[in-house]
């Protein structure tokens, strides 16, 4: 029997290509996902957690630093300690006007705890020296002019020489702010805040885990968090990138989808192969093979195919990951440096690929055992016109669908994404089961619709529903891919719309320029900035001193609501004041005892005035310019809000604005929130692209299935096609017949999939974002339409090869019984 199997494999190698491709793609997908996931994790860990790589133990949540390092330094097994401190400064880089905001961190004194990777130069050894990140744009030897402000707001200027440039690697936040690294003394001199964390390096030969326990015991009464460096790094990484683990999990779900689709395709492929070999298998039975031997030979063939394809798939997956890593690099929302192939990925790929193939071959193998020996002597029977629908399948489908839909409804109402995911998975399994029943009637109905397309279309309509189970399996494979792709596209569109609405509400201004002087800025600053390329509008704000109900005079801003309305992207979180209204920061609720819509009394030079309160996301009370100058006639121009043109590179415009502002007001500080918005937008874009691409894989596999099914039809209908040719169907018409059939099946699957997918996408978004404020639904008609067209056209393409074969059927075939 082994002989027969190997001979069979060799003889049918070409026919197994479709299954092999399906498995290679699915396994490659899973392996690539796992590999990229592992690589992303290690890259982010390396970048964000770089500072913890050298630290074996990290203490955070420090309230009272006094004596902390001494307490720890005395413990056995501690090699070195570093009490990390940080601050922020405004710095002017030579050759660029305008001050730049820099986050400043201390550099550990002990080399063992220094984590910074130097691109050039060295780390600072003494006050007056600074190492900067590449974003700062300074070179070694440059002298930075640094401005700091003490608690009273007095400016203090100092100078620092750049001694090194630090490479932050794949740190996603590296592009947002400039970073500076100085000695702890310098941090203190620049108004350092309390120490944020204590990093500890273990002495040689000390186990970090036991050291954590020791440190935890020693600091038990201090109410601090003690973690290993690795734990701390993972925590940081998770908070920076969202959660790499979740990303991998999500991708693996797609991998499972690809496998499911591949399974359906493989089951179909084996059905095709066995149908083509009915007589061969029957002959084997005739000459004495038992049905068990036939089944074993089929399964062994499946196992060999599955294993071979899985090996190829693992290779393809690793190759894909290497390619992705090379293309994406560290400069992206999913930073990849090198490739880390987990052994588990390889093993999982092999097991899952082979297992899926075997599982998918079970049903065809069982069917093969039912081939009667006499079949070898009979002509090939045409496929049965009707096959029994499984009542069990129907019941199981409904049992999954109904509770699944209810769970999803609950998820939407309660804003519980877990409910919705569970419900979605359940109901989709139900849909897949029910599709076996539901798809054929829909295809039949669609077939009646296209009857006007002539006699070939009518024949195709009939042919497409001749073997309902096979049609359903083919369509279901495609349906799964299309449904999920649509769900992602629709979900992403709404997520983006919601996120953008939230972001604009949170950061209504693209860029804020503040003068940082008591004397104010020239009134022309706003005009000058509005003239910068890429700036769409500017609104100047006045600032003055107004006394609140608590008796303290505070910084208060005055705005021209009409001008500001053209600058703010949203007034959702920051309402603009009207005459007689004061927009107050949230702290005034406690500090001044005010409430939204209530009254507040503000006192100026000419006495008190009463305002209606509106609460909003503002740092200082916000009045109209008229109200402010009425309270403080000495109010000066201070702040400019800018709105950038859409589609410009925010970083470049912000740099330009910084230069212009700096040349007019040397102390000006520029904060660009546009960059952050753009960065988030980019993350969504990339994620959507990646996910759509991955799901495209499922669709691709499904289309191979369409081609397979048609190939089977061609084999089964050889006589029939011969008859049609004899009766006058031209070769072109035969190809048209197959094309219509493919279009019907693919089109129905695509339309059903899009409808289902849109539903799932909206449900997902509603339950994911429903409880996080305003939900903005957006339906990407164009993309969804494109999915239908692409899936249908691809189905049409899948018919090309089988159609060519069918067209070659000689008319005499009808007579050769």
């Amino acid at each position: 029997m082994f002989r027969v199997i190997t001979a069979g494999l060799r003889a049918h190698a070409a026919r197994l290509v479709a299954s092999t491709i399906a498995i290679v793609i699915a396994v490659g997908f899973v392996v690539a996902t796992l590999t990229i996931g592992a690589t992303t994790r290690s890259t982010v860990l390396e970048a964000v957690g770089a500072r913890y790589v050298s630290a074996d133990v990290v203490v955070t949540g420090i309230q009272d630093p006094a004596g902390l390092d001494a307490d720890v330094a005395g413990l056995p097994g501690v090699g070195a300690v570093d009490l990390a401190t940080s601050t922020s400064v405004q710095a002017v880089v030579p050759g660029r006007s305008g001050a730049q905001f820099l986050l400043v961190d201390s550099v550990a004194e002990d080399p063992a705890l220094r984590w910074q990777q130097l691109a050039e130069g060295a780390l600072p050894d003494r006050p007056g020296e600074v190492a900067v990140s590449e974003r700062v744009g300074a070179d070694v030897g440059d002298v930075l002019t640094v401005a700091t402000y003490d608690e009273e707001g007095r400016e203090d200027a100092s100078q620092a020489t750049v001694v090194g440039v630090v490479d932050l690697g794949g740190d996603p936040s590296a592009g947002i702010n400039g970073r500076a690294f100085v000695t702890p003394e310098q941090v203190a001199a620049w108004g350092g805040l309390g120490p944020s964390e204590l990093r500890i390096a273990a002495a040689d030969g000390t186990d970090p885990d036991s050291l954590v326990a020791d440190v935890r015991a020693a600091l038990a009464d201090r109410d601090v968090e003690v973690r290993t460096g690795e734990e701390q790094a993972e925590q940081e990484a998770a908070s920076v990138t969202g959660d790499a683990e979740i990303l991998t999990t999500v991708l693996l779900v797609f991998g499972a989808v690809a496998l499911l689709v591949a399974g359906l395709v493989i089951a179909n492929t084996f059905a095709v192969l066995l149908a083509q070999r009915t007589r061969e298998l029957a002959l084997l039975r005739c000459i004495g093979a038992t049905s068990r031997q036939v089944r074993r030979s089929v399964l062994a063939e499946a196992a060999a195919t599955g294993l071979g394809a899985s090996v190829l798939g693992v290779g393809a997956g690793i190759g894909l990951a290497v390619l992705a890593s090379a293309l994406v690099g560290t400069d992206s929302p999913v930073p990849l440096a090198g490739v880390e192939v987990p052994l588990s990925a390889v093993v999982l790929g092999l097991v899952v690929g082979t297992g899926t193939t075997l599982l998918a071959a079970l049903a065809p193998a069982r069917a093969a055992t039912r081939i009667a020996p006499l079949a070898a002597l009979r002509p090939l029977d045409p496929a049965p016109l009707r096959s029994r629908g499984g009542l069990l399948r129907l019941a199981a489908g409904l049992l999954l669908l109904v509770p699944g839909v209810l769970l999803m409804a609950g998820g939407v109402v309660g804003g519980e994404i877990l409910f919705s995911v569970g419900g979605g998975a359940l109901s989709f399994l139900g849909v897949v089961l029910l599709a076996q029943r539901a798809v054929p009637p829909v295809v039949a109905a669609a077939g009646r619709l296209v009857r006007s397309g002539g006699v070939t279309a009518r024949l195709a309509g009939g042919n497409a529903t001749r073997n309902p189970r096979r049609t359903a399996a083919t369509a279901t494979a495609l349906l799964i891919g299309v449904t999920l792709t649509t769900a992602m596209v629709v979900g992403a569109a709404s997520t983006r719309a919601t996120a953008q609405a939230e972001l604009t509400a949170q950061y209504p201004t693209d860029v804020v320029v503040t003068g940082n002087t008591e004397d104010g800025v020239p009134a022309s600053l706003a005009e000058r900035l509005a003239a910068v390329d890429g700036v769409r509008a500017a609104a100047g704000l006045q600032a003055g001193g107004v006394t609140g109900p608590d008796g303290y005079e505070g910084w208060t801003l005055g705005v021209d609501p009409a001008a500001a309305a053209g600058v703010l992207r949203s007034t959702g979180d920051l309402p603009l004041p009207a005459e007689g209204t004061a927009v107050l920061p949230w702290w005034t609720v406690e500090g001044w005892g005010v409430e939204d819509g209530g009254r507040v009394t503000l006192t100026g030079d000419d006495g008190p005035r009463t305002f209606t309160v509106a609460l909003g996301d503002t740092d200082y009370p916000l009045l109209t310019v008229g109200d402010l100058t009425a309270l403080d006639p000495d109010a000066v121009a201070d702040t400019v809000w800018l709105r950038l043109d859409d589609g410009v590179d925010p970083a470049a415009v912000v740099d330009e604005v910084t230069d212009v502002a700096g040349s007019i007001v040397p102390t000006a500080a520029v904060t660009g929130l546009a960059s952050e918005r753009a960065a988030l937008d980019e993350v969504l874009d990339v994620l959507l692209l990646v996910v759509t691409g991955l799901l495209g894989v499922a669709v691709l596999i499904a289309l191979i299935g369409v081609g397979n099914t048609l190939a089977l039809s061609v084999v089964e209908r050889r006589q029939e096609n011969g008859l049609l040719r004899a009766l006058g169907l031209t070769r072109g018409q035969v190809r048209g017949l197959l094309a219509w059939e493919a279009t019907l099946v693919a089109g129905v699957a695509a339309v059903l999939g899009v409808v289902l997918g849109a539903g799932y996408g909206l449900v997902g978004v509603a339950s994911l974002l429903g409880d996080q404020g305003e939900l903005v639904l957006s339906f990407p008609w164009l993309q969804v339409g494109a999915i239908v067209v692409v899936a249908t056209v691809a189905g049409l393409l899948a018919s090309v090869l089988p159609a060519r074969r069918a067209a070659r059927t000689p008319p005499v075939a009808a007579l050769a019984a």
Binding site: R458, L723, A726, G728, R731, A817
Partner: protein, 257 residues
């Protein structure tokens, strides 16, 4: 039992038109070299317009191959085939296909009908493929004569073997083709249904001047024809005019069948 055949020769007509189909020097070889099989080894034959001709011969005599070549289903290795004035052997596949659906009717031994179409749709299929509308009066006449009026909405799976074969005959007759080729049309039928089908073929010849060429190995079926052409080893081996079952049987015996 066989009435005299009215041979319609009109003085002044060019002689080739008298033959619906004719072949000259027809050869058909399968394989090459030492393993080559000469299914047809040089056949010259003509089939008179408006006549019912049977092709007979033992198994492997090449009778089916001859019919396939005459009907444009198979391409001869050598020689010429004319359908009326059209030389089939010069036509490309698409032209042959169109010629088949417009000028030739077929009745096969089995698997004659498309399972997804009902009887009516099967009957009009070749004309639809050709983009022509059947003449309603003629359609009704054909359907009535074949006794299919009540069966037009039935799918092939709902029809008996004899009914299926009558649908196939109706299909072949509907377009009033130059020739109807029948390949063992009674091979899968019981004798009563077979006799019905043969009667229908013969009456279409008598009553409407239809040309019919039938391949059969059954002497009783051949007896329905006006003329029998005998084939052996890929060559013509004789002819019988106004055959009877007995004359055919003895002629076949003479061929060693």
């Amino acid at each position: 039992m066989s009435a005299p055949v009215p041979v319609m020769t009109i003085p002044g007509e060019p002689p080739p038109a008298a033959d619906a189909v004719r072949a000259t020097g027809l050869t058909r070889t399968y394989g090459r070299g030492a393993t080559a099989v000469h299914a047809l080894a040089g056949v010259d034959v003509a089939f008179t317009r408006g006549a019912f001709t049977a092709i007979m011969g033992p198994s492997g005599s090449g009778k089916s191959t001859l019919m396939h070549c005459l009907a444009g289903l198979d391409t001869p290795t050598g020689g010429q085939v004319f359908l009326g004035d059209t030389e089939l052997t010069r036509l490309r596949d698409d032209q042959l296909t169109k010629l088949r659906r417009e000028r030739i009717g077929f009745v096969f031994q089995s698997f004659n009908l498309l399972p997804v179409l009902d009887a009516r749709e099967n009957i009009v299929l070749p004309m639809q493929l050709a983009g022509r509308r059947p003449d309603p009066a003629w359609f009704d006449a054909v359907v009535a004569r074949l006794g299919l009026r009540d069966r037009l909405r039935h799918r092939p799976s709902e029809l008996s073997g004899g009914q299926q074969q009558r649908v196939a005959v109706a299909r072949a007759l509907l377009s009033r083709p130059d020739v109807v080729f029948a390949d063992e049309p009674t091979g899968n039928l019981d004798s009563r249904s077979g006799a019905e089908v043969l009667d229908l073929l013969r009456s279409s010849v008598r009553e409407t001047g239809q040309t019919v060429v039938m391949v059969t190995h059954d002497p009783a079926a051949a007896a329905y024809a006006d003329r029998v052409v005998l084939l052996a080893d890929g060559r013509l081996a004789g002819e019988i005019d106004r055959p009877t079952a007995d004359s055919v049987l003895s002629a076949l015996r003479g061929l060693g069948a």
